[in-house]
Symmetry: C2
Subunit: 291 residues, 2 copies
């Protein structure tokens, strides 16, 4: 087996940012600064980290962003009311509600109230539907980022068998739709596996491309893939570690196990993660352009 090709989301994301800088410049010349409103409810430590790295990127690019930090006991009505205000605020082209929300708030209702044209996460039913019927507006950031990585490394999916593990609305479901769409770079035959699949390894073993989005540390090992498979690791799992942070991030793929068998794979960190943020910026720029 030849050496594993490391699919670096970090590298691809910097190419994306380069491409975006012209578009951002053009907007600025029209006095439009792409703006993102971020809503963070409560004190979930992972959510705080995610929000921070998103807003930091926006600031680094001289884009406008503001984080609305709300107490975990905010009422659903207050939250809906804030979103309605942000919908009507022309400084924001994108609105992002960091999930998960506290249990007393229905996430569905919250997402429903976001203006679909500002829904840069692509979670609103209208945007999920436009994707499902093959006319995407905002594609959820992680699946979109995966397609960008594959595109950058010229890995076309036409005629390939893709097996997706995990059926979340955020990653598994939309990437299964995207990969199998009638579209350049897509056109794969896609199988969607999940917690109720009795023999996941039988499916992954026949796949040309395996996309794992399960949130289970080290789930995929060499026995579950075929020689030369392409592996996309969407997992971002925190495990305790003896470092400053007290934790480190690992994926759903056992890298040391697959690295001699796979032909290409995304690492964690530095794989899909950086692309998610880059796609959030891209979607926000797109939203501003469409204004």
């Amino acid at each position: 087996m030849s050496d594993l090709l490391v699919l670096s989301g970090k590298k691809v994301s910097s190419v994306v940012y380069q491409g975006l800088s012209d578009r951002i410049q053009t907007l600025k010349e029209k006095n439009i600064i792409p703006g993102l409103a971020v809503i963070l409810v409560g004190e979930n430590p992972a959510s705080k980290v995610y929000v921070l790295s998103k807003t930091r990127t926006f600031k680094k690019l001289d884009l406008f962003t503001k984080t609305y930090r709300l107490s975990s006991d905010i009422s659903q009505d207050e939250l809906l009311h804030l979103i309605t205000e942000l919908n009507n605020n022309p400084s924001y082209h994108g609105i992002l509600v960091q999930l998960p929300l506290p249990k007393h708030i229905e996430s569905d209702k919250v997402i429903n109230v976001i203006d679909p044209k500002k829904d840069v996460d692509g979670f609103h039913p209208e945007n999920a539907g436009l994707l499902a019927i093959g006319r995407p507006r905002f594609i959820p950031c992680t699946p979109k980022g995966i397609m960008k990585i594959l595109g950058h490394y010229e890995i076309g999916l036409n005629g390939k068998h893709v097996v997706v593990v995990g059926r979340s609305n955020i990653v598994g479901r939309p990437i299964s739709i995207l990969t199998s769409m009638k579209m350049d770079g897509a056109n794969a035959t896609t199988t969607l596996c999940h917690s109720r699949t009795p023999d996941i390894e039988n499916h992954t073993r026949s796949a040309d491309v395996v996309i794992v989005a399960l949130g289970v540390t080290g789930f995929l090992d060499h026995s579950m893939i075929k020689e030369g498979a392409i592996v996309i690791d969407v997992g971002i799992n925190r495990i305790d570690a003896d470092n400053d942070k007290g934790y480190e991030l690992v994926g759903d793929v056992d890298w040391s196990s697959i690295e001699k068998k796979a032909s290409a794979a995304t690492p964690v960190p530095g794989g899909v993660g950086p692309m998610t943020i880059a796609m959030l910026v891209e979607n926000t720029v797109e939203a501003a352009e469409k204004l």
Copy 2:
């Protein structure tokens, strides 16, 4: 191999109508008569037959229906204007635009303008999206009918491998989503094959359930399924025949080839077809109930 179980959509649809009659009665006691507006543009002979059999069913059940027959040279604006009127007309709980539309009209724009709460075909992006994220409102009639047939014959999909052939927005895509949803009766591992799949037979041969929605007469034969497979034939193809009509309807499955190998299958006619109309009635009744 034991005898093939014929999955009779005709029989299941009559059970559905029985179940609906109580619901229709309850609505009538509240002076609500479920109403469907059907828009038929042009003179496509197949479309005329479909519209006729839909409206005939509504009339037989003493429901309200009216068909708007429009000339094929109607402008898109006129059509959109009519739909807006029907959206605001309280006599109609459902609005159906028979597809295909003439080439000068953009189907997407037409479907977009239907009030999603009257979109009993389930084609509006919002309804497609609600299905994709696992909170369906109106499920497209043919996929919904397929699930009903399987449910009636107590064929649970949990743990089964379903292979769908065809990725249309009307059947293939939504049934691939439905079968793999986190839901009683669903929870299948689903593979979506299509025109760009190089080795469809390798996929169908490993399937517990094969759903063919390709529109190619006799596409699926015994060499493409495993012993005991369940076969759902969504094809409705017209072939010339020496009878009064001058044609007969045949499916995508070569019935004589698979009948000794499959364990169960839907016939054409009398399989998925009657269920599609039954689900249109069910969706319209649901729309009236939700009013």
